[in-house]
Amino acid sequence: MAQMDITITGVARDAKLTWSGVMKSLSKTGGGNYSASFPVQPGKYVYSIVVFGAPEDAWTAKVTDGKTTHNHAGHMSPAGFDTTGDTSFTVAP
């Protein structure tokens, strides 16, 4: 069993993590940072992160199981949101 660690930075208003179609709880740790950790079985998953903030705010997200890492970065839209989109992640055995 692996552990997923998700850290999100630069988010002024809120962030939403969906993992395999299920919303996961994020903790707000200050300074626009959010984080979540949970165990996962090896396999292929689809996740998405949606972030909300002031227009043009820069944000980043890191999704890792310790072996594979996805680094996301972007800027909020004029309406104040952005996303990683549905992204696949394979957790190796």
């Binding site: 903790s27 800027h75 989109g85």
Partner: protein
């Protein structure tokens, strides 16, 4: 003499460290109010030197320390989500202070004159979390698959796509077809094995054009050995994966076709219900039959309960917040109480701050409104630093009569690379109080810290 209202319902945790307090002094008789007597030597002057410059509604961001001429304050807060149809987050905040008497307080209130524990525990609903985002993220995933296909095809064929071309594209198909044509036209001297591998990968892309995401993992696995440059377009390469809204600025036609029809709304709200207890304590001198016993120090502590409803709206660069609260407050009026020793023609004084008379808590209603606008400008001149501004109005009305009204206007600049972690700015603050006596104050704070977090 300094007058403190404890607790100020609604004003809570800091997100910034106040490095300096530039006290402009009381504005006598401002707004037609009667002139007041200047504060005595024990006063720090100016408006209530609260520990935060931010919207009173937000719990702030994480842990901060603020240092003012009145003492050191530490605050901490945490917010967490949970999956539920109606209530979907909770929040908790605490603050701690040392006061000017040097008492190390494990608890605090909004001020440092008399320490007291202050907490805020609430549950609420965030429409950010409640909004259905799955159509948007699915469409965004399709956009990213198209862009991944474009980048892989271009890198395999060794050509660049200009920004103009990227904006004109409506799908990956023309790039794949162009890439296949380029590879097929390679001179006979090219490595046949490499050419065959590249062509096979491009043909696999061509066959997967109906749903690029379905072939992404398989192609990326082959790219690890076939083309390091093309593999950098894969999410697990470790390279930075550009977000969908950033990609939309580059591939505007593809974004308009796939993502825009599912774009999220721009208007959101949050609402929370909070319990805000305060344990306030202060030294005082008892008054008996109108005569204060200055020689005997007494200590007063009390747990004051308050409840608050916070609501906020967010629309693009604007944030609006409103808090209504009701609960116990107490007015702390401190003076310097001095022990004077005389020896011949010499005198020496040892002074402490204390209230004359026992504090008397009262029920108080309060309302706070906040408006934030950031970024206040996106002009070319502000590409490195972006301005923001906030207007906060506070009104407090104890059942015993009188009111306290406060208006503050934080203006700040933040580096565009880290707009939440560091801001520097000025906060003018105006305060009008009718109890315990009529005063009008104006002060300006210089602050450095995290960006004001308006309202949740």
């Amino acid at each position: 003499m300094k007058s403190k209202q404890f607790p100020r319902i609604g004003e809570f945790l800091s997100t910034g460290a106040i490095l300096g307090l530039l006290t402009m002094g009381p504005l006598q008789g401002a707004l037609g109010a009667a002139p007041t007597t200047p504060a005595d030597s024990g006063s720090t002057g100016g408006a209530d030197a609260t520990q935060n410059f931010v919207s009173p509604l937000g719990l702030g961001s994480g842990a901060t320390i603020s240092v003012t001429q009145k003492g050191v304050s530490a605050t901490a807060s945490v917010e967490s989500q949970f999956v539920s149809p109606w209530v979907n987050y909770w929040q908790l905040g605490l603050s701690g202070t040392t006061n000017t008497n040097g008492q190390a307080a494990v608890y605090s209130s909004t001020d440092t004159g008399a320490p007291g524990f202050k907490g805020k525990l609430g549950i609420g609903r965030s429409s950010f979390l409640a909004t259905d985002t799955h159509l948007y993220t699915a469409a965004a995933g399709k956009l990213k698959a198209e862009v991944w296909c474009i980048n892989v095809a271009a890198k395999l064929a060794g050509f660049n796509i200009s920004q103009f071309d990227a904006a004109q594209l409506t799908s990956c198909r023309p790039i794949v077809e162009r890439a296949i044509a380029v590879v097929q036209a390679l001179p006979s001297g090219a490595d046949p094995k490499t050419t065959a591998t590249t062509l096979a990968l491009l043909q696999e892309l061509q066959q997967g054009l109906a749903d690029e995401s379905a072939i992404e993992d398989a192609v990326c696995n082959k790219l690890k050995t076939a083309s390091t440059a093309a593999y950098s377009a894969c999410p697990d390469s470790g390279a930075v994966d550009i977000s969908v809204e950033d990609l939309g600025r580059i591939y505007s036609n593809i974004y308009a076709r796939i993502v825009r029809p599912t774009a999220l709304p721009a208007l959101y709200y949050k609402i929370s219900f909070n319990y805000s207890p305060s344990l306030v304590s202060t030294d005082y001198r008892a008054v008996t039959n109108g005569v204060a016993n200055l020689a005997t120090n007494s200590h007063w502590s009390s747990l004051l309960n308050a409840f608050a409803v916070d609501g906020s709206l967010y629309y693009k660069a604007w944030s609006f917040g409103l808090e209504a609260a009701y609960g116990k407050t107490v007015n702390i009026v401190e003076q310097n109480v001095c022990n004077t020793t005389t020896s011949g023609t010499f005198t020496a004084q040892q002074c402490k701050n204390a209230m004359i008379g026992k504090p008397n808590p009262a029920n108080t209603a309060s309302a706070t409104g906040a408006i934030s606008f950031t970024p206040a400008s996106n002009a070319a001149a502000t590409r490195l630093f972006r301005p923001g501004l906030e207007l906060v109005a506070y009104f407090e009305h104890p059942d015993s009569g009188g009111h306290k009204t406060q208006l503050s206007l934080p203006l700040y600049m933040a580096p565009i690379s880290a707009p939440l972690k560091f801001v520097i700015g000025l906060q003018p603050m105006w305060t009008w109080t009718t109890e315990p006596k009529q005063t009008n104050d104006f002060s300006v704070f210089l602050f450095v810290g995290a960006r004001p977090s308006v309202p949740n």
